[in-house]
Amino acid sequence: MPHPRQIAFVIDLNKCIGCQACTVACKRLWTSENGQELMYWCNVETAPGDGYPRNWAERGGGYRDGRLAKGRAPAAADYGVPFRFDYEARLFEGRRQRVRPTPAGSWSANWDEDQGRGDYPNAYFFYLPRLCNHCSRPACAEACPKDAIVKRPEDGLVVVNPDRCSGDGACLAACPYGKVFLDPLTRIAGKCMGCFPRLEQGQAPACVASCTGRAMHVAMLDDKAASVHRLVFEWRVALPLRPDFGTVPNVFYIPPFLGPLEETADGGEGAVPKIPESHLVEIFGPAVRPALATLRAEMATRQQGRPSDLMDLLIAHRAVDLLGRMV
């Protein structure tokens, strides 16, 4: 059953430039303590790619046939060990050796940046920012034996009550998106809580407030005037990531429709986009096909000099247009 109110996000993957401002703004505010280095409540990864935690989409979790599906919590190697650097020794104490990341790397948030797939000149990639989906059916909450994760009725945000958390990690196994983290020092789960303390003060969540690509929209999902509602329900161009996981996410994505067409052998312009539609269907489901068609048609409309409400919504002429009536 939908909750009375639900905060939702729309992230335009065409406007996302992979700059990591959201990643860092979130991290600085919420997960900058010792032990929290591997926690990225918000991260931006290159898609297609292994992502963060590594291969997050292949660990199970979520729902199958209406029931919680078995999942596996990410292993330590899926995060990598956050590098440390001994600058003091090299710069101030005469140690001759260069400053090496310790331990030497194996994986990190953004390890496979810009690698993508395909063969030159038809290589392809795009950026995929990921935060908690604040799902309408949060598997993390349902899996928690202590009822430490609650979905707030007033805004649908899914938050961890650290006072109740016993650190058994059931939520990490249950979340198919890898978006719940366990603090290795405190053994308490942590995750995006929608920046509710900022919302209470009339500020946008840190990720949205720092998004210099102006790619992130936030609003109550039922706010019919807000861009979120209009993109999700009126234009039907904003889609949840991996809807097949069954958790009914409340973060929606405008799929990448900008970008070159595949190149032909003689260097000419082919007929299909470099990003294979099959990949977008895999991650956004079949609804991505009509969404892409709508987006392309509306862009063509603007190219012909005619107005397009959809393109204006995505342009978001004023920063406040991205924020519904949240702030």
């Binding site: 992979g18 700059c19 990591q20 401002a21 703004a25 710069l91 948030a109 690698q115 210099t212």
Partner: protein, 908 residues
């Protein structure tokens, strides 16, 4: 039970309001507390970045806890908002306050340079040590053996002015940087007679076709990139031209990928199509360019008045009037107005005082094509042809798409299509970047891009033009900056040209044609060199710039130039490579601990930073440091009995004993705040605009500064350059008074480059891979390169990016160690395999610190200094040396290297 449950819940509710005995007020409150702060101040990041992004800095319990974009930039009607402006790096700005590389105290080297062994010194001791060496150098070797390097005045004009004011009063030579860094567009100066000028990036939205040519704003102009995507959503067609499938290409409608360094052929092919198919605007060509000017077939030089008339001007030029059937002098050339004595620092000559409409042709109908004959002063008759006629013949002969295509690897059909699209779209904008400018022949390509814009009427119009966003050069508060940094005038300041300075003093090898041209240029005074007369520099003071880390020819700089210095001083917030290899290091106040201003060519609003906290440890702001150094030099000079120094070059008796009084202008410029207000006092507000007060700038949202470099300034729309000339029809600041594509200087004629024609990239290094060093997403040059958070969003250290094919050919896999080398140097680095990277190239984001995770070398070690002779010209109308206006660029992309598996030991 129900009542009991209700009671429990009430008690639980109460507990969230009253602290528990241990002070715990619940987890929700703990989270809320993290967003709290005691104080919010304005902050900016005074690094060599073009962002100028306004931030708020939050302080809690005396600790800077974070910074966020202030998101309060005013917007233009009809254009998307530019808020929030900033990036991940700015949000990490606080790290350099408290990070491990922070400099806390004055340090004096006790080990070898670069070893990292220091002893802590008092400020008094450190300043005395520096002052002693300065006085010794000045008295024994001459003040011009003292060298002060500090780039990027626009981003920190107070700090910039501090060291330059000191240099000016002592007699030290100052450095150029825009050219040395390869960012100055010499081709734009050659063509337009300007240092550089660009539109505010908001103007991208006005283009109908937007070509990103060697420019990757999604990665390197992060706060501006949204305008590009928003333009696409608004119906603009986007084309990216880059050898690799880069981040900007992923957002574009079309991606063309010429072979590295061959973009010139693509541009010439486009020019050929537009000219051959008649897609240009002949009226604009006749009025705005040198295309109608007549060139003598016998000498390949312009027909000049002095050729035909006794006592005629050498700098007056002619077109063939189709009406009157004869040569007619064209208005606005160099002969029509003598350059002002002081000169404009950013224009070949200041033509802004000419009447509007000077270039208007009226009834004149100049021929663009044909061969004509004129009679010279001595009675001889010679053939003359308009520049357009010459260039059209050249284009049609050599650069048809069928000929240009194979040169650059772009299919002829695509060249035709891009040319037609470009000519048809009005307006069409080319955004050019370091990817094409950092080449030895990058200037020729810029000339052709300007040709494309000029002949299609895309100059001076919103959404048009060629915008070269590379380097941070535009100091909107230029009058104040000049007065503050060079108090007795720039004519009495020694400026060296840093590419030449580094080449000569590091005794780096030079291609023979460069060496001969350099000798000639220096002997004839076209380009400067300090110290003069073959002497070596003795004292080097670097601040706000990582000279050593970024130096081309780095091996020679370290081996040969560095030992020439009796003293190297670095003033810095952090231990960068140059600081590490210095003798004395002075701790500077962090950006959040001092007052300064911050400006950019990318938007026209004044950004500021102010002390959020007092400087930590013993750090001081640069204005104070150079004031204290001035006082110490005065003290030492007086004590040594050398209070005065006669400086012959300027016939200037320098009174060292009163250095501090002159530095502070008799006590008027004691603090950084005084200096900032001085800069603002020299701003000339538009009629009705209030003067700018520092306090107001801090309290209010960023204020728009009107600047009229090459266009009248306006509040209500983005600045678009060159409207004085293209719109108001005042002469261009060039020799001919027009956009000048024909350069008949002997150096250009000798090189066959009087017109912009194809030159292949240099293949002087006999190795298979081009070495490409672009800017990076998570760094600004070397700044943030060593930041742990940025490194955790990558692989923990520098990587060399190669295509799967090149890796496989060498038996290398992703994350392997590889050796990259050529005859200039060697790098041992991990590799990253990326399918979007073309074969034949290796890419390494510049410029990791020399102490970072490379087993050996640095990115600049394999890059030599290669001076292009045409950039040594300093005696041709608008082509003269002025600091950062014209001089040889520190190009570095023609470099070739080999890469192979590294088999040596890997340190743990």
């Amino acid at each position: 039970m129900v009542a009991a449950a209700g009671g429990l819940s009430l008690r639980a509710l109460a507990a969230t309001h009253a602290p528990a005995p241990n002070g715990y007020r619940g987890w929700r409150q703990m989270l809320r507390d993290r967003t709290g702060f005691d104080r919010r101040t304005r902050g900016a990041h005074l690094v060599n970045c073009t962002g100028a992004c306004p931030h708020f800095v939050y302080v809690k319990d005396g600790v800077v806890v974070r910074s966020e974009q202030s998101a309060d930039l005013p917007s233009f009607a009809g254009l998307p908002d530019s808020n929030p402006r900033g990036c991940a790096k700015g949000i990490c700005g606080v790290d350099y306050l408290y990070g491990a590389e922070r400099l806390k105290y004055p340090l004096v080297r006790v080990g070898e340079r670069g070893e990292g062994r220091w002893r802590r010194a008092s400020w008094d001791e450190a300043l005395r040590l520096i002052a002693e060496k300065i006085v010794t150098a000045a008295v024994r070797h001459g003040p011009d053996t003292i060298s002060v390097f500090c780039p990027g005045p626009a981003v920190a004009p107070v700090a910039f002015a501090a060291g330059h004011r000191f240099a000016h009063l002592v007699g030290a030579h100052a450095h150029t940087f825009f050219d040395w860094y390869g960012d100055h567009p010499p081709g734009q100066t050659q063509t337009l007679g300007v240092q550089c000028d660009t539109a505010e990036t908001a103007d991208w939205y006005n283009a109908r076709l937007l070509i990103f040519w060697g420019s990757n704003p999604v990665e390197t102009r992060i706060p501006d990139a949204h305008y590009m995507v928003e333009a696409a959503l608004n119906g603009t067609r986007l084309v990216t031209i880059s050898p690799d499938y880069n981040d900007t290409a992923t957002k574009s409608h079309r991606w063309l990928h010429p072979k590295p360094g061959t973009d010139l052929a693509l541009a010439l092919g486009m020019a050929e199509v537009i000219v051959r198919e008649g897609l240009y605007d002949p009226a604009v060509v006749a009025e705005q360019t040198d295309m109608p000017l007549l060139v003598r077939s016998d000498t390949r030089r312009f027909l000049r008045e002095a050729d035909m008339v006794d006592g005629g001007a050498a700098e007056r030029f002619f077109a063939w009037d189709r009406g009157g059937q004869g040569p007619v002098a064209m208005k606005g050339s160099w002969a029509d107005a003598a350059p002002p004595a002081e000169g404009s620092p950013f224009l070949g000559r200041d033509t802004r005082g000419f009447p509007d409409g000077t270039l208007a042709l009226g009834a004149l109908d100049p021929a663009l094509e044909g061969r004509f004959h004129v009679t010279l002063r001595d009675g001889r008759t010679v053939e003359v042809r308009p520049v357009f006629d010459l260039y059209k013949a050249e284009l049609l002969e050599s650069y048809s798409p069928d000929k240009a295509g194979p040169l650059c690897g772009v299919s002829p059909a695509e060249i035709v299509r891009l040319a037609r699209d470009y000519a048809a779209a009005r307006p069409a904008m080319i955004v050019s970047g370091a990817g094409i400018n950092h080449w030895y022949h990058g200037d020729i390509l810029l000339r052709v891009l300007h040709f494309l814009a000029a002949i299609t009427g895309n100059v001076g119009v919103p959404g048009g033009g060629v915008n070269h966003y590379t380097g941070q050069w535009k100091s909107v508060l230029l009058p104040g900056l000049t007065a503050l940094a060079f108090p007795t005038g720039t004519a009495r300041q020694r400026f060296c040209q840093t590419t030449i300075w580094t080449q000569v003093h590091s005794e780096a090898p030079s291609p023979p044609e460069s060496a001969a041209a350099l000798r000639h240029s220096l002997e004839t005074g076209q380009m400067p060199l300090y110290p003069k007369g073959g002497r070596a520099p003795r004292v080097f003071i670097a601040y706000r710039g990582n000279f050593l880390n970024q130096a081309k020819g780095q091996g020679h700089v370290l081996r040969t130039l560095w030992p020439k210095f009796d003293l190297i001083v670095d003033i810095n917030i952090r231990m960068d490579t140059t600081a590490l290899y210095s003798d004395v290091v002075l701790p500077a106040a962090h950006w959040y601990e001092k007052t300064d201003l911050n400006m950019t060519e990318e938007h026209g609003f004044l950004v500021t930073t102010e002390p959020a906290i007092a400087p930590l440890w013993e750090a001081k702001n640069e204005w104070e440091i150079f004031r204290l150094l001035s006082a110490k030099v005065a003290e030492v000079a007086t004590a040594r009995g050398v209070p005065r120094l006669v400086d012959d070059e300027f016939a200037w008796e320098r009174d060292l004993s009163s250095l501090e009084e002159r530095y502070t202008d008799g006590g008027r410029l004691v603090s950084g705040e005084d200096a900032a207000q001085f800069l603002l006092d020299h701003y000339d507000p538009a009629p009705g605009e209030p003067p700018v007060r520092l306090a107001g700038v801090r309290a209010d949202r960023p204020r728009r500064l009107l600047s009229a470099f090459t266009s009248p300034a306006r509040h209500d729309a983005p600045y678009v350059p060159f409207q004085y000339f293209a719109g108001l029809k005042k002469p261009w600041p060039t020799l001919t008074g027009r956009q000048q594509f024909y350069l008949d200087h002997p150096a250009f004629l000798r090189a066959g480059l009087e017109l912009p024609v194809y030159r292949a990239p240099l293949d002087a290094d006999p190795y298979p891979l081009r070495f490409n060093t672009p800017h990076g997403r998570l760094s600004v040059h070397s700044t943030w390169r060593n930041n742990p958070q940025m490194l955790r969003l990558g692989r923990g250290g520098p990587v060399a990016v190669v295509s799967p094919a090149e890796a496989k050919r060498r038996g290398l896999a992703d994350d392997d160690w590889a050796e990259i080398r050529n005859d200039h140097g060697r790098i041992v680095c991990r590799i990253k395999v990326r399918p979007g990277e073309p074969a034949g190239r290796v890419t390494m984001t510049h410029a990791p610190e020399l102490y970072m995770d490379l087993i050996e070398g640095g990115a600049q070690g394999v890059c030599p200094i290669r001076i292009n002779p045409t950039q040594l010209v300093g005696d041709y109308g608008h082509l003269v040396f002025r600091p950062n206006y014209y001089g040889p660029s520190g190009n570095q992309r023609d470099v070739r290297v080999e890469m192979r598996r590294y088999t040596g030991p890997i340190p743990i």
